[in-house]
Every structure is written in C-alpha cells, then in structure tokens.
Amino acid sequence: MLTAIQILFLIFVPFLFLGIINRVKAVWAGRKGSPLLQPFYDFKKLLRKGKVISKTTSIIFKIAPTVNLSSIIFAFLILPLPSIGSVISFQGDFILFAYALGLAKFFTVIAALDTGSSFEGMGASREVTFSTIVEPAFFIVIGTLALLTGQTSFATIINLLSASAGYTILVKILFAVSLIIMILTEGSRVPVDDPNTHLELTMIHEVMVLDFSGPDLAFILYGSGLKLVLLTSLLADLFIPVNVVSVYPLIIFMGIIFLTSALIGMIESLIARARMSHVPQFIFLMTALSLIAFAVVIFFLRGGL
C-alpha cells in the first residue's frame, strides 16, 4: 500500500517540484504566483494538442522525446528509494544509471541538430560541453562512495552509508553541494541556464527543444522535471536510512526533495545567470569538491595519503 502511494506520488512529484520552484520565485519577487500544480495543467494541455513538425526533421526528431523520457524513467528504477529499494540492482548498476542518462542526452542532442536550426545547434553544443565537466565529476562522486563503503551497487552503498558515522558527515555535505551543482547544470537552472529565457543566446537546454510541440513537448517537459527529481532523490538517498520499512524515512526523503526545490527557487531569485564563459568554472567547483571528498575518505579510511 505504502509502495503504491509512493509510486503514485513519484509520478506527481516532478510537477510539484517545478511548481514549488516557481512559487518560491514568485513569493520572493512579491507576486502571488501560479498554482502549485500549474506544470501539471500545462502537461495535460500539451497532451491534448496536435503538433507541428519541421520539414527539415527526420525520424530522429520523432523518436527522441520517447527515448529521452524512457531513459530517465529507467534510471529511476536503478536508484534506491525509501521502503521500495531499487527495482533493478546489481554490481555496477550506477554505471548503467549514468549511461542511461547519457542515452537520453544523446538523443536530445541529435534531435536538436535534426532541425537544422542554428539556435538549437548552439544549445546542443553547450549542453554537451558542460556535460564533459559534469560527467567525470559525477563518477568521482560515485567512485568515492564505492571507496567509502567498499560496495559496487547503489543499494548496498546507500545501506552502508546510513550506518556509517563520524567523518562521513563531512563527505556527505561535500557531496550534497556537488550534487546540487549537478542538479543545477543537468536540470538547466540558474546560474548555468535560465529555463525562462526561450529566445536569448544565453540559453542551453530550453533552446534545444524549441521545435517540439504537443505530446512530444509534454514528454520533454515531464522528462526534465523527472530528471530534477531523480538527481534530487540521489541527494536525499545520502541522508536517509533506506532499508528501514517505515514512514519516517519516506517523510525525510520527501522533505529533502521539497527543500531542494525550494532551495533552487531561492538560488534563482538571488543569483543571476552566470556569463557563458564563467559557467565551466562554476561546474568545475563540483569536480573540486568531490576530489576533496575523495581525499578526505582516503585520509580517514586508509590512514593518510
């Protein structure tokens, strides 16, 4: 029962997540803001619509949104969730997790190039450029977690992580910051990208999906919301006991997710978009933090470098 509610809840969380971000921003700016479930209404509206496709596009453009959304859903099955655990779990499953998201990115990028628009080419180019910094940093994070616990699958890592104490809290905090940087980059939020500016040369992810419409656009919007929740869940996993079957971990889990969305809304209200040439420096912060975490683990676990 709990599981069923949780799954239903997860299906709606992406909308709420985006809704909270928008509400926080609105309140911060002194506005009333749109309803919390506005992203869901938009989604429903888009599903009902027909679509316009460009004559330049090919089959790639048609299949990309489907592959994109499916890959993100699939990645969700690998991530351990409170009381459910992970649906798919084996040694090295985190590699499949990262590469499933890679498949999603591959298709989004070639779909953008499929339109032949220079805007979308620009977005695609920036998206892959920033990914080249995020991806290795993410693997440092995973690698350090594997080092810390001596395990090679998400479920076992998270289980052991909740049991360990002491200096791990330092590592967890470093990773929390790294993952927030990753969420901001991969989820295309300020200061890396601004999802509200559809037509300026500063944009990255939003511009890649300019030509999509109707159900395809709905899939993409839902996909990007789901991706935000996915990465936030990973962040929440660091702090909760996953293997305890009770309501409390779930409450903490959801709490962290909504807190993160509020935090993103806050960051967007306080900070301006970084200049394009400064974005890599911001993302490199993630690499630096995760390397520090690695050094900390080596220091405490192996007794010095």
Binding site: I73, I95, S117, S131, P136, F139
Partner: protein, 661 residues
C-alpha cells in the same frame, strides 16, 4: 589446424588468381567467393577452440635460421583470428560494391586484391606463429602488404606521402620487436616463444626492458600515444574497405601481441601495470580530443580508433594490476573488457567506416562541413551509421557498453582494495573513462548530427542515394552483432571463457560465474528498458491518434531569409568544448581580408594540431634530422668523392684479407 591453414592459403591464392583474370568485375567476385570459402574452412576450427577451449598446434621444420617452428591456435589466437577472418569476408563483400568505382580505371585492381589476400593471410599467420623469426617475417609481410593497399591511389601525392609515413612508422615499430626478439633469442638460446617464459617472468630489469620494447613495438601497430601519428594519415588515404580492415582488424594484432607477451610473462610487475594503465588512459584522451576537432570523417574515425585502443589498453592495464595485486576478479574483468572491446571495436568501427565510404562515394567529399541532411537521401545508411555511433559512445543496449562496463566495474572493484595507490589510480581511470565516454558522445553527435541531419550545407553535385546491396549488407550484418552483443552479452562472454582461463586458471570458475550472472542481470535490465521505451512509445501513439500533425519549416524566430548555410557547422558545434581544452588542441587560425571602404572578400582558415605529436614526436624527429645532417657531407654529389669511397673500401678489404692471411 589443416583446415585453418587451407583457409589462410585460400586467401592468398585468391589474391594471386585475380592477377590472371582480365575483367575487373570478376576479380571482386572471385575474391569474395574465396573469402566465403575460407570462412567455411577457418570458422569451425576457431569455434571449437573458443567453445571447448581446445588448442591446435602444428610443427614445421624450416631451414636455418628459423629452425623448428611451432604454430599454435589457442583460444587467444582464435578470438583475433575470428575478427580477422570475419572482417575479411565483410570487407570483400563491401569491396564488391565499393571498388566498382575503379573498374577499368587507372588503378590496378589486381594489385589491390593480391595485397588484400596477402594482408589477410599474413594477419592470420601472425596470431598463430610461435617462433620469433617466422613471426617477424609474417609481421613484416602484414605491414608491407597493407602499405601497398594504403597507396592504392598511387598517383596522388598526399596518398604516397601518407603511405611512406605509414611504412616508416611500421619499420620503427618492427625495429623494437627485432631488438626484443633477438635479445630474447640470445638469452634463451632458442627462438621459440615457449622458451622465453623463464626470462620474461623473472621480475628483474631485463624483463621490464624487454616488456617495454615489446610494448613500443606492438604499441606502434596498435596506435598507443605517442606512436599513434600514422593512423590519422594512413586510414584516410586507403580505400574504405581497407580502412575498415586496418582500423577494425589490423591494429588489433598489436593488442594481440601485447596480450601474448603478458601471457608469457606470468605475473606482471606492478609498475609496468601502472605504466600501461596510464599510457592507455592518455591514449584515450588524446585520441578523442583530436577526433572532436576533425572535419574529415575518416580522420575523425582514425582518431577515434586511437581512443578505443586507449580503452582496450586500460582494460589490459587493469588486468595486469589485478594480477599484480592478486585480485582475480579485477584481473578477469580487465582482460575481459580489453578482449571484448577489441571485438566490439571491430564491429562498430568497421561499420562506421563502411558508412563513411558510402557517404564519400555519393558526395565526393569527406569534409562534414559540406554535408548535411543525408538522412533524407540515404535513410538506411544513416540509421546504420547512427547505430554504430551510439555503440561506439558506449551507451546501454549497444555493444560498446558491454565491454566498457567490464572495465568500469573492474576499476570500481579496485576501490575495495586497501592499497591507496591502487585506489587513487582507479579513481583516475574511473572518472577518466567517464570523460572519454562523454567526449566520444560529443564527437559522435557532431559527426552524425552535422553530416546526416539538418539540411545540406552545400548543394550536392549529384543527388546522393542509398548505397548498393553489397555496400549495405556488411553494415546490416554488423548491426545485428551490435544488438546481439549489446543485449545478450552472455553469448559472447561464454566463448571468451577459455581465453580468460589462459590468463588465470586458478579459481576462475567462481569469479567467472559471478561475472556471468552479472551480465545476465544486465540483460534483464535491458529488456526492462526496452519494455519501458515500448510503453512510452505506445502512450505517445495513444495521445497522437487522430491529432493534426502539421508540417512547417524549422522555427526561425521570425527571421525570414533563412538559408541552410546558417546552420550550425561542425566547427561551431565543437568550439565551446575545444575552447575549454584549448591548450591540448591548439588551433591555428589564418584570416585573410583586404580592408577597404566596403567589406571585401575574406577568407578564414582554421586547422588543429595534434598536441601529442608536437610534444612527443616532433622533437625526436627534429633531433634525428639534426643528427643525420651531420653526415650529409657523405652524399655530396661529387663523382670524385664517390670514387674515393670505392678506393678506401678496396684498400680496407685488401688490408683485411692480407691481415687475415
């Protein structure tokens, strides 16, 4: 074993026969028939070796200095022989379509098929010969025959230059092998591989130096940095069928050589293992960085081969580390990843080269900046090329993921070890492989997105069309393998079991069964993945039923004068990334403008340099050139001086003879 040799002979004879056939068309057909016949002869032996773990051997007595030579087909040799033989058949099918272009032309097809047959048979011999002198002979035959294939279009100057560069690089590599083999021959008193075991497995300086010599010698063939510079020159120059053979198959003989030496050396020295791991890591990074900056499809693919050799090398290094630290699971995962990636790279790289060949034949250009929108003219080729591109980026459900997964997992297992230096190197490899993977994605989205998607950047001379059946068929066969290996990896891992057993025979069964069950669960995950894609697709179909789908032009922000020239180009696509790594991919920009009152015609020329070549290769070449110019006075061009040499020579001979008397 006799069947195997008959197959080898058949490849050679097919090449000889084409010399006596007059019609060019028949040459291709005869070679194809022979190549198919050779499969029937060769494959049963290979599979019996791979499935049952049998080794076949034959002995032959040659005149001195070779002496008694052993030829052995063990599982390791069989894997590589399988790639060679299958690659030859596919290339023969492809050439039936591709060489049509040259029928009745100025280039000799007999020469092409003769050296093609010679190349295949010498490669097949390379993997079975167990005697160093015979090995060097077939090794050189392989290099020389492939040289003649590279210079097929011999009236073009850049082709001849590339060919010569290739030949010289191969000779430099071979000279290291000759040094190593003759040293070993001296130490052991025999030229048989089996007699080298004692010397190579002793963990002393001799063994380390010998291993390094072998690594450089074989690494030059495989394309490890800094011995990689011949690949981007030779691959584009050769006809496509040959490029595919060279890149997909021939460079693997270098990997085979390294693995063979590791088999002979037993437990590797730890520092050597680290060195191989780090050199391979650098190779991977250098390869893909240079690939991203290329505009030429074939050059791009050549650099990407260097990257993949780096990944294979990381697997080898990992296997060596596992052996050195006595962690069998890491050892098995490392070697499994390396060998599997060799097979996988053959599959997708051949496929990509075949696709590039079809594009080149249709458009007469290899420059992606001039292409675009090919998917509308050649949908089948494009989708097959995309399949190869996704596979080479290592994305799940395609075969590239399977081998990279083994290497990733092996490195992740290294974190559990209590050894700090192993931990640190594993982290470098772990995040480094992720970096290589994501950069491969940058490169291949560029290659596919710019050349095949969008709309044509320049008008085509003639409308491109789908390749003929002979051109498409090899790609279809390879794409089937991509999915079979990609989704049901246990099929291939099962037949690699005997090979891994050669590396570590102790407690392999237990380790292997855990790897096996791991890949089984991977298959389960992929089936679930496919199911999700299918369900999401059905949902999409449901919501799109009886909906209006309009066709319109790409949204252009209200700008009316859109032309296809305004599209993003490959250079602009990779620019933000290349700016991040500008130190490693130095770009030279030349702008020619005439400043007048009104803007006049201007030209912009950009070219990228291979950073590793500048750093490692050019200083050495410069030094050699400076050193050799010191002796330039010997060849002065004056007849009198040359006569003097003759005189001095005669005097020395006379003195020597009289002295001896």
């Amino acid at each position: 074993m006799n069947y195997f040799f008959s197959g080898v002979l058949l490849f050679f004879l097919a090449g000889v026969v084409t010399i006596f056939v007059r019609k060019d068309e028949w040459k291709s057909i005869i070679f194809l028939i022979a190549a198919s016949g050779a499969q029937i002869l060769i494959l049963p032996t290979l599979f019996s070796s791979l499935i049952f773990g049998n080794s076949f051997s034959a002995a032959a007595i040659f005149s001195e200095p070779i002496g008694a030579a052993t030829l052995r087909l063990d599982p390791l040799a069989s894997v590589f022989a399988l790639i060679i033989s299958a690659g030859a058949l596919l290339a023969a099918i492809y050439s039936l379509g591709y060489m049509k272009h040259y029928y009745g032309g100025k280039y000799s097809l007999s020469a092409f098929y003769f050296f093609f047959g010679l190349l295949i048979s010498s490669m097949l011999l390379v993997v079975v010969v167990q005697n160093s002198i015979l090995f060097l002979i077939v090794w050189e035959l392989m290099s020389v025959s492939s040289f003649f294939l590279v210079v097929f279009e011999n009236d073009k100057e850049d082709v001849r230059k590339a060919g010569l560069y290739y030949l010289i690089a191969m000779q430099i590599g071979a000279s290291f092998l000759i040094a190593a083999f003759s040293w070993l021959g001296n130490l052991s008193g025999s030229y048989d591989f089996a007699s080298f075991k004692n010397i190579l497995s002793a963990q002393n300086y001799t063994a380390i130096i010998l291993f390094s010599l072998f690594f450089i010698g074989f690494g030059t063939k495989a394309g490890f940095v800094p011995f990689h510079t011949w690949l981007p020159r030779a691959h584009p120059a050769a006809p496509t069928g040959v490029s595919a053979i060279m890149s997909g198959v021939m460079i693997k003989t270098g990997i085979y050589g390294i693995l063979r030496i590791i088999l002979l050396s037993g437990v590797p020295e730890v520092h050597l293992a680290y060195a191989v791991f780090i050199i391979s890591f650098v190779t991977g990074i250098v390869g893909i960085l240079n690939a991203i900056s290329q505009k030429d499809i074939k050059k791009f693919l050549a650099y990407s081969s260097i990257e993949n050799i780096g990944i294979i090398g990381m697997g080898i290094g990992l296997g060596m580390l596992g052996a050195a630290y006595n962690i069998p699971l890491i050892e098995i995962l490392g070697y499994l990843g390396a060998i599997l990636h060799s097979v996988n790279h053959f599959i997708f790289k051949s496929m990509l080269f075949y696709g590039a060949g079809i594009v080149y034949q249709n458009t007469n250009t290899r420059n992606i900046e001039k292409l675009g929108g090919l998917i509308k003219f050649m949908p089948v080729t494009s989708i097959l090329f995309l399949t190869g591109a996704i596979a080479i980026s290592g994305l799940p459900m395609f075969n590239g993921f399977i081998s990279e997964f083994a290497i990733y997992l092996g490195m992740a297992k290294g974190f559990a070890s209590a050894n700090v230096s192993l931990n640190i190197f594993m982290l470098i490899g772990f995040s480094g492989l992720a970096l290589i993977g994501i950069m491969a994605m940058v490169g291949f989205t560029k290659l596919f997105g710019i050349a095949f998607l969008g709309s044509p950047r320049e008008p085509f001379d003639k409308t491109p069309h789908e390749g003929s059946t002979a051109l498409i068929l090899p790609m279809i066969v390879l794409s089937v393998f991509i999915f079979v290996v990609g989704i049901f990896p246990i099929t291939i891992i099962q037949i690699l079991n005997p090979v891994l057993r050669q590396f570590n025979n102790i407690n392999i069964e237990q380790q292997f069964s855990s790897v096996f069950s791991l890949y089984t669960s991977l298959t389960g995950a992929f089936i679930l993945f496919a199911l999700i894609i299918f369900i999401v697709f059905l949902i999409r179909v449901y919501f799109l039923r009886n909906k209006k789908v309009e066709q319109f032009k790409t949204w252009d922000c209200g700008y009316q004068a859109v032309s296809s020239r305004l599209q993003y180009t490959g250079s602009s696509y990779s620019l933000p990334f290349l700016e991040l790594v500008a130190e490693f991919v130095p770009q030279k920009t030349v702008v020619e403008t005439q400043y007048e009152i009104f803007p006049a015609e201007a030209h912009l020329k950009t070219s990228q340099h291979d950073f590793a070549e500048r750093l490692f290769v050019q200083p050495v070449l410069k030094f050699i050139r400076r050193f050799l110019t010191m002796f330039a006075w010997i060849q002065s061009g004056r007849m009198q001086q040359y006569i003097l040499y003759g005189l001095i020579f005669l005097v020395i001979i006379l003195i020597w003879i009289f002295g001896a008397m």
